[in-house]
Amino acid sequence: MAVYRSIRDLDWTLLIVTLALGGLGVLQIYSATLATKWEDAWWKQIIWVVTGLGMMWMASNIDYHMLLGRVTYLYLASLALLITTAVAGNKVFGSTRWIRVAGFTFQTSEFVKIVLVLLVARYLTDVKTAGSVSWKDLVKLGALVGLPMLLVMKQPDLGTSLTYLPIFIASIFMAGLRWKYIAIIATVLLVSLPIGYHFLKPYQKDRLVSFVYPDRDPKGTGFQVIQSRIAVGNGGMWGRGTKESSQTHLGFLPVPHTDFIFSSFAEEHGFVGVVIALVLYFLLIMQIVQNAQTATDKAGLYICMGVAALLLFHVLVNVGMVIGRMPITGIPLPLMSSGGSSTWSICLRLGLVHGVRWRRLVN
C-alpha cells in the first residue's frame, strides 16, 4: 500500500500545527525556567519533540488494522505495565506514576491512552452496532476501560485516569447510543459523584473545595488557583514579556513549565498570545475530526474521534484549570507541557490519526 502514499499526501495542517505547538512549548519552557533548577528542561523538550515526531512517523506507517488485530495483547501488556508501575515504580510527590527504563522515567499511564483508543475502536467495529450500542456491550466495554482507570486512580492519579473517559464516551457516542442509555449513564455519573467524593484522598478533596472557594485558604490549597489567575490577569492584552512576568519568574506560579505552562504563557504573551495558541489547538482538533470524516472505515473514525476527544478533554481541563474554571487535576497540556511521556504519547496518537488519513484513499 505504501506506493500510494506520497509526500504530497501528508497531512500538512496536522504536521505544521503540531510543530508550531511543540515549538511554542519549547520557547515557553525556556522562558519560564530561566534561572531555576529546571533550566535544562527546554533542550530536553526539544529532544522529546524531535523523537516524538519520529514516533509519529512510525505510527503513521504502521497499518492501524494490524494494531487493531493485536489489541488484546496490547491491552494485556498495558495492564501488566500499570501493575509493574504500582509494584516497582518511582514515587514522586507521593504518587507512583513512573517507571525507570535505561535512565529515563516514563509515565506508563500516558501510553495506556493509545492502547485504549485502539481497544475501543476494535471493540466497537467488532460489534454490529447498526445505529446503537447494546446495553451488554456498553457494560463490557466500560469494564475494559474501567480496569486500567482503577489502576491509575490507585497510583493515585485521578486526573490521568479521568482522561480515559472521553475516549470511551466519544467512541460509543459515534457508534450510536440510545437516548435512554445516555440518560442512564448521565444519572449514574451524577449519583456517583457525591459517593465518589468520599473515596477521594484528602488533598483531592481540598483541591475540589478550593476550586469552588479559592479564597477560603489563599495561602494553602487555593494558592495555585489564585496565583495562576493572577498570572493570567497580569498578562493583560499584550503580555508582560519574559522579563516582566513576575508571577512566573518570582516563583509564585507552581511548576510554570509543566502543568501551569499555559499560565506562564498567558502572563508573558497576553490575551493575543492565548488566542493564537488556542486557535492552534482548535485547528488541530478540527483537523483530526476532518480526518475522522474522511476515514475509509469505522475503525479509523473511532481512532480519530477518540484522539480528538482526548485532546479536547486535555485542553479543556488544563487550560480551564489555569483560569480557575476547572479544578486542579495535574494533567499536562499536550505538546506544550514539558515532559517526555506526554509528548511521546500525543505524538503517537497523532501518528495514528495520520495513518488513518494516509489510508483513506485505499482501493
Partner: protein, 633 residues
C-alpha cells in the same frame, strides 16, 4: 451492506475474524457535527475566561501581581510641629511603633490572639479590618508598649503570623493638662462622614487627620506625605532586590502667633473657673493667647480613643470640648455700652454734654428698668456713664436710637458676624434687629425690647473673640483686623468705619475712665501703662432668680472684662469671660494678669526663654516658667 431496521437479524452479533470492510463511517456525520459544536463551545468557554481575566479588568490582577512581588512598608511622615511666636514647641511628635496588618495575609483565626496581645477588643479589631476594605495594609494599633512590641517580634515570622508588620510611627505629643488644647486641637482617624465630603478628596481611609483647632484648620500644612519602602520578594518572601524607596516628606511646622508666656498666665488665671481668656494684638489681629476652661487632654485622642471615653468627654456638663473663646454665645452685658456710645455719637442722638438723670432706674413703655447702682448715678454724661457703667443713661441712648440703628453700628464693629479667625466652628453670635426678629420668630419688634439690648442683654449674644475684636477695633480708631493664629499671614483688614475721631476719642476716654477714674475696672490699673477697658455683668436668667446666686452657680451672672493698652496706641487687647463669676470685677484681675505679663515681658526685652528643642510640657503648676511675679500673685 447496511442492516435495515426491519431485519430480523438486527440484534444478532456478528463477530467476524476479519475486520469488516463494508462499514461506512459517513453515517456518523451528524454526530461528528455535534462533536464539532461541542469543541467550539469549549474554546469559547476558555477564551471568554481569558477575556475576563486579561482584558476586562487587567488592573485588578496586575495590582495583585504587584502586591505579590513587592513588599511595601509604609514610611510614615511626621506631622509638622506647632510652635509659639518665639519658636518654642507647643506640639511635638514622639517616635513610637505601630502594628500593621497586611490584608492579603490576614487569617481570621489569628485575630483573637492578636486582639488579646494588643489589648484590643476583638469586635473593634474585626470592624477596623472590615471597614478599611480598600486598603492593603491596616494600622491597627499605635503607641505600642514594650510588651506588645516584644510579642509582635516573637510572633511575626512567616510561619506564625505573617500578616503582622511592625512599623515606625509618630505619636502626637500635646502639652499636658489640656494646656492650649482648644487652640491646637487634636488629631484622629478620618471618619466616614469626612471621607464623603469633597474637601477631603485627597484623603484615604485610615488616615490620621486634624480633628479640631489648628490641627484641623492647617491639616494640609501639618501633614506630611507618607513614603514607602519597596522590596522585590519571591514566593518564599526572600528579598530579591531593593526597589526605589520613596522617602517620607515631613509636614511643615506651624509657627503660631501664640505667646506661651501669656498663654500660661491665662491658663493659670482660669484654673478652676469656667470661661475664656483671649489676648490679641489689635494692630493686626494676631492672637497671643487663647484659653478656654475647663479643658481636655488631647493626648487621650491621639490613640484610637474608645467610645466610652469619648461619650464621657462629650457629655460632661462643663463642656470641656467647647472652645468658649470662639463658640460661647452669651449676652455681652455692659461690655456692649461702648458700642452704644459710638452709635449714639455717630447718629447724633447724643453728644458729650447730653445729660440724663439716673435715679437707680427708669420706666420705658410701661416697664421699669433698674440700674445696677440702686441709689442711682444722679445727673450723668457720657464719660461718667461709660466709666461707671450707668444703665439708665444707655437705656435712654438706646431708646433714642431705636433697634435698627443700634444694629447698624453694632454690625460695623462686628457684633453678629464671625470674626473669621482661622479655627473651625466659630459661632456667629446674634445682633437683633426688626428684620432679624421677623425672620426668626415672625413677630414685630417691640420698642421695649430695645431697652434691654442697650445694656447688652436681651437677644444680643457674642463670643469672647467677637467682643474683644469689636472693642479693641474702637481703640484702633475704627479698624478691625481679622484675628489669626499663624505668623506668616499678612494682616487682613476686615472693616474700617469712618467714625469721627472726636467721637472715638470720647468712647475710649470713657473706657480709660473705667480703669483709671473710680470706675468698675480699676483693678486693671498698671504702672506706666495706660489701660482702657469695659466691664460687663451679664445676666444668665431672669433677675429675680439670680439674686443671691453664688459664685459658680449656673444661675449666677457672667463676668466680662475687655481691655486694651496702651490707650494711645493699643498693642494688646484682652478679654476675660468668667462664667457665673457673679460680678464683673471678678473678671478684671484675669485681664490684668495677662496685660501685666505682656508689658513685663516687653520691658525685659522679649522672652527670656530661648528657643528650645524640648517639647513644651506644661506641668500642673507653671512654676518653672519665668513669669512676672504679678502674674503668679
Amino acid at each position: 451492506m447496511r442492516l435495515l431496521k426491519s431485519d430480523p437479524r438486527r440484534d444478532e452479533r456478528i463477530v467476524s475474524q476479519r475486520l469488516p470492510r463494508d462499514d461506512d463511517p459517513k453515517e456518523a456525520a451528524g454526530k461528528i457535527a455535534i462533536f464539532q459544536y461541542l469543541t467550539v463551545l469549549v474554546f469559547v468557554f476558555l477564551v471568554s475566561g481569558f477575556w475576563q481575566l486579561q482584558v476586562k479588568n487587567p488592573e485588578l490582577y496586575s495590582e495583585a501581581a504587584e502586591r505579590n512581588r513587592i513588599k511595601s512598608t509604609p514610611l510614615l511622615a511626621p506631622r509638622g510641629k506647632i510652635l509659639d511666636r518665639d519658636g518654642r514647641v507647643i506640639v511635638d511628635n514622639k517616635a513610637s511603633y505601630s502594628l500593621l496588618l497586611n490584608r492579603d495575609e490576614i487569617k481570621w483565626e489569628h485575630l483573637p490572639a492578636i486582639a488579646n496581645a494588643m489589648q484590643l477588643d476583638y469586635g473593634d479589631l474585626a470592624g477596623m479590618i472590615r471597614r478599611s476594605a480598600s486598603r492593603p495594609q491596616i494600622i491597627v494599633k499605635d503607641q505600642l508598649t514594650r510588651d506588645e512590641i516584644a510579642w509582635i517580634e516573637s510572633h511575626q515570622d512567616a510561619s506564625a503570623y505573617p500578616e503582622m508588620q511592625l512599623i515606625r510611627s509618630w505619636r502626637r505629643q500635646y502639652p499636658q493638662d489640656g494646656f492650649a488644647a482648644h487652640v491646637v486641637g487634636y488629631v484622629g482617624e478620618i471618619g466616614e462622614a469626612e471621607l464623603d465630603s469633597p474637601q477631603f478628596i485627597d484623603y484615604h481611609q485610615g488616615d490620621i487627620i486634624g480633628k479640631d483647632g489648628l490641627e484641623r484648620e492647617y491639616d494640609k500644612t501639618l501633614r506630611g506625605v507618607d513614603g514607602q519602602q519597596r522590596v522585590l520578594v519571591d514566593n518564599l518572601g526572600r528579598e530579591r532586590q531593593m526597589e526605589a524607596t520613596q522617602e517620607a516628606v515631613p509636614g511643615k511646622d506651624l509657627k503660631t502667633t501664640l505667646d506661651l508666656d501669656l498663654q500660661a498666665v491665662g491658663e493659670l488665671a482660669m484654673a478652676g473657673k469656667r470661661g475664656s481668656v483671649v489676648a490679641m494684638d489689635p494692630r493686626n489681629g494676631a492672637i497671643l493667647a487663647m484659653v478656654s476652661s475647663p479643658s481636655y487632654d488631647p493626648n487621650k485622642f491621639t490613640g484610637r480613643i474608645t467610645r466610652k471615653e469619648w461619650s464621657q468627654m462629650a457629655n460632661d456638663p462643663g463642656k470641656p470640648l467647647l472652645n468658649r473663646a470662639i463658640q460661647a454665645q452669651l449676652a455681652p452685658g455692659s461690655t456692649f455700652k461702648p458700642i452704644m456710645a459710638i452709635a449714639g455719637l455717630e447718629a447724633d442722638v447724643i453728644d458729650d454734654k447730653t445729660t440724663f438723670h439716673c435715679a437707680g432706674g427708669a420706666s420705658f413703655y410701661g416697664h421699669y428698668f433698674a440700674c445696677h447702682l440702686k441709689h442711682g448715678h444722679g445727673d450723668i454724661q457720657l464719660h461718667r456713664a461709660i466709666a461707671q457703667s450707668c444703665d439708665v443713661y444707655f437705656y435712654n441712648v438706646g431708646n433714642r436710637l431705636g433697634i435698627d440703628r443700634i444694629a447698624h453700628y453694632a454690625d460695623l464693629t462686628g457684633i453678629g458676624r464671625r470674626t473669621g479667625i482661622d479655627l473651625p466652628n466659630e459661632t456667629q453670635g446674634t445682633m437683633p434687629s426688626t428684620k432679624w426678629k421677623l425672620r426668626v420668630s415672625r413677630q414685630k419688634w417691640y420698642a421695649g425690647e430695645t431697652i434691654s439690648v442697650a445694656i447688652g442683654q436681651g437677644a444680643v449674644t457674642v463670643s469672647p473673640i467677637q467682643i474683644l475684636s469689636a472693642l479693641s477695633g474702637l481703640g484702633e480708631g475704627g479698624k478691625w483686623y481679622k484675628p489669626h493664629l499663624i505668623q506668616d499671614k499678612a494682616p487682613v483688614l476686615l472693616r474700617q468705619a469712618h467714625f469721627k475721631p472726636e467721637n472715638l476719642e470720647q468712647v475710649v476716654s470713657g473706657m480709660y475712665g473705667v480703669v483709671n477714674e473710680w470706675g468698675t475696672g480699676h483693678a486693671a490699673q498698671l504702672p506706666n501703662v495706660k489701660v482702657a477697658g469695659k466691664t460687663g455683668t451679664a445676666q444668665v436668667a431672669a433677675t429675680e432668680k439670680t439674686k443671691g446666686a453664688r459664685l459658680h452657680s449656673e444661675l449666677a451672672n457672667n463676668a466680662w472684662f475687655v481691655a486694651f493698652a496702651p490707650v494711645e496706641n493699643p498693642e494688646i487687647a484682652v478679654v476675660a469671660l468668667f462664667e457665673n463669676g457673679v460680678e464683673s470685677y471678678n473678671a478684671v484681675p484675669i485681664v490684668r494678669d495677662v496685660l501685666k505679663a505682656y508689658f513685663d515681658k516687653k520691658a525685659r526685652g522679649g522672652s527670656r526663654i530661648t528657643q528650645n528643642t524640648q517639647p513644651f510640657q506644661a506641668p500642673r503648676l507653671f512654676a518653672w516658667l519665668p513669669l512676672s511675679g504679678g502674674a503668679l500673685r
